[in-house]
Symmetry: C2
Amino acid sequence: MDSTTTRPDQEPRPLRADARRNRARLLDEARVAFGERGTEASLDEIARRAGVGIGTLYRHFPTRDDLVESLISGEVQRLGTLSASLAEADDPFDALRTWLQALVRHACAFRGLAESLVTAAGGEGRLAMACHDTESAGQVLFERAQRSGHVRPDASTQDVVDLACSIAWITERSERDLGEGDRLLDLALDGLRAQQ
Amino acid sequence: MDSTTTRPDQEPRPLRADARRNRARLLDEARVAFGERGTEASLDEIARRAGVGIGTLYRHFPTRDDLVESLISGEVQRLGTLSASLAEADDPFDALRTWLQALVRHACAFRGLAESLVTAAGGEGRLAMACHDTESAGQVLFERAQRSGHVRPDASTQDVVDLACSIAWITERSERDLGEGDRLLDLALDGLRAQQ
DNA sequence: ACCTGAACACCGTTCAAGT
DNA sequence: ACCTGAACACCGTTCAAGT
């Protein structure tokens, strides 16, 4: 169900050569800065390191979240692709688990990302749309698993996406490494009870 | 290795009358401000509303987390009491669940609290000690439940406390009400799988 | 012993002037 | 069409001066 035709996506509208170069530099430096300091990195420093006035940063990325969105848009698409490729998997529950694991890892990409995602999700910007797309990708797998009776009927896509984001958040915040994120996710999916 | 003798705890050391009044006013206004704007509320505004110079705020509460700690210390104690009162409960798993529920509600008391707790936990300040005390309270219930075979042997106290904090965080961030926090916690404790 | 608030540093955001 | 950077607003934190 990927409509490559309709994509109301940003057609990146031809930019003047210098503008395009500036945009690329800003993204490069933002990637570095977010990697080092998380999503709260100083915008001023990003602009300075990119050799660009702060006004230019704001022109290309009116909000911090727009910058975040541009950095993760590739990953968001990959989560869509992954969902599609899991949609016919033998075990619907495991398919969902695999996708949620990928979501957790995605939301751990840099410090503050899980927070940005969850906060943006309620809003209206480009990042909110990215969140919406991500949730839609998960929904396919979730509903299949639920229809097939492998998932509690009282749970929702939103529940598991939120759980994944909050696990990403705690993984990043406490100093667990990424493998610990997987463990916590398994814990939440399988439950705390000992199987007897 | 707990040296109950050394407790470098704050004995609240007699304050001059005006200092005590200022401290109380600061706490009152901080409670209001944190309630309205979360733990990131402006310290300047708290001091102003308390009718006190900003320096006085810093004298009483050298860090923002010290302010947070003073606001929640009562709740932290109550979590300890609750743990003690659940320590002999018939169903060890349910006892743990009840306590974790209380922890989730506690960490939802105001916006940003879950974040402050998790961030502080790694550090050294008074808030870190409060986190440590809280975890100890949970540990009693957790280990009992685990020893009795009701809890997976590969899970840890830290796992469930972290899960509770992250569920508090997501509950507060997305605009779920508190009951939703309980639901998410149940989901994580019981697992996503349909019981068949 | 405690309080005050000016001073400093840092950051986000806007906008008039420039090319 | 795009860029620049000064200007403004806001906040945290320290510290010299005061009582």
